[in-house]
Amino acid sequence: MEYYDSKDLKRFNEVGKFSEDLMKKFFDYYNAAVGEDGALTKREKALIALAVSHVKQCPYCIDSYTTQCLESGADPEQMTEAIHVAASLEAGITLIHGIQMHNSLERNGAL
């Protein structure tokens, strides 16, 4: 059994097999949010999506948004910075929970 076959991304539509209408609503929303220039450019959106793809560790999305970034004119330097933003947020999110740990230490009379 193999997980994460890159060819499966093309089969995304099939998820709508038992609820076509909900899937259509999702794709309409998805395309409007990510695939069009708005207050953010398509390139900025692709860089955000690339960063989120790394945080969520979705190989389909990493493939797809690497290409999207290139096709919207981004370069590897910008893409790398985007994933560093994601990585530093993840580190910060881990570390800020240290306060939670301190609160707990306090409640235990250890701080």
Binding site: R43, E71, S72, G73, D75, E77
Partner: protein, 345 residues
């Protein structure tokens, strides 16, 4: 007992399989699109396959090892065609590095005297590198271009070193910047002069280009900020899935994915603007083709069972020919379209 020879089924050449799978003529007829030639405004000549660079994507397979050169007799014949056909307003010189043909300077000067608009597909680095075979210097080029009011069209895959050197070879970006600054010094790309300097962007790999407008804004901002460079327009071109780039796609296992992307992005209005409707392409040996890509695929224009060449050139027959299309034509009709002058929509 007689020996029976068993013949194995003949293998169908991969190129024919690709043509059948990505059928451009079928795409046109399904959309009810007819693309006859309009007129011939541009004579594009590939005068040499010799180049000082060996670029990853080059559809000509040009390199310092190539020897093909247009000879003086053919150059003179091209000048006669330009002189006797007033509707041909532009001479577009390409290669290889066109400046490495020994008759290049003569052709430019004579075409300028005929009042033709001369465009040169100038790779920038030849000014710095010179002739890779003879060692002859080409430092005079910026001044020569200014004197003859040539439109300079130069490949610059990106405004940063990484993508440029990856596609065009190590050190190319640095030399390109040096060469552009020499062109700027002559007034090319500067406001208030009519000396045009245009850049060509094409993706460094198996992906489609971003919008011409957005990339041009980025190129202008970044090149000016970092180097003080000025230029007129950025032409965005799609990589053609032929020759060296096709081999690269096949090596990466990305050929079908790339073709499917081009087919999906087929744009009927981009198809209307394809360059083969107003241009003819001439090879170093004088044969005529619908475009530079057809030339590299040896898809000769055949009229009355004869290949059309500069020696039996017939304007009327050429404007009444059928343009030959192949699967690579999806490259010119994807998205915003692609031509020697960039997007076609």
């Amino acid at each position: 007992m007689s020996q029976v020879t068993v013949l194995r089924p003949r293998e169908i050449p991969q190129d024919r399989v690709d043509e059948a799978k990505y059928n451009f003529n079928k795409a046109l007829s399904e959309k009810n699109i007819d693309l006859p030639p309009q007129n011939i405004e541009t004579l594009q000549i590939n005068i040499t396959k010799l180049c000082n660079q060996t670029c990853l994507h080059c559809h000509v397979d040009a390199s310092p090892k190539r020897k093909e050169q247009m000879d003086l007799e053919s150059v003179d014949r091209c000048l006669e065609i330009l002189s006797s056909n007033k509707s041909i307003k532009n001479l577009d010189l390409t290669g290889g590095a066109p400046e490495l043909n020994p008759h290049f300077d003569y052709l430019v000067k004579e075409a300028t005297k005929l009042d033709k608009h001369v465009m040169v597909r100038h790779n920038l680095t030849v000014t710095i590198d010179g002739n890779p075979v003879t060692g002859e210097t080409k430092e005079y080029l910026p001044e020569f271009y200014a004197e003859n009011r040539v439109e300079v069209i130069s490949s610059l895959p990106y405004y940063q070193e990484y993508f440029t050197d990856k596609q065009r070879g190590k050190g190319v970006f640095e030399k390109s910047i040096e060469s552009i600054l020499l062109l700027n010094e002559q007034g090319f790309g500067k406001q208030g002069t009519s000396l045009e300097l245009n850049f060509v962007y094409n993706p460094v790999g198996a992906f489609l280009p971003a919008s011409q407008e957005n990339l041009e804004t980025d190129f202008k901002r970044e090149l000016h900020k970092k180097y003080g460079i000025e230029f007129n327009n950025l032409f965005v071109i799609t990589n053609m899935p032929i020759n060296r780039f096709k081999q690269q796609l096949k090596r990466l296992g990305a050929y079908d994915e790339y073709m499917e992307k081009l087919v999906k992005a087929f744009n009927p209005s981009a198809a209307q603007g394809v360059m083969c409707r107003s241009l003819i392409s001439v090879s170093h040996d004088g044969r005529i083709y619908d475009c530079d890509f057809n030339q590299m695929l040896e898809m000769d224009v055949i009229i009355d069972h004869e290949p059309m060449t500069i020696f039996n050139f017939d304007y009327e027959k050429l404007v009444n020919r059928r343009i030959m299309f192949g699967s690579h034509c999806f490259g010119c009709t994807a998205g915003s379209g692609s031509s020697c002058g960039g997007a076609t929509t």
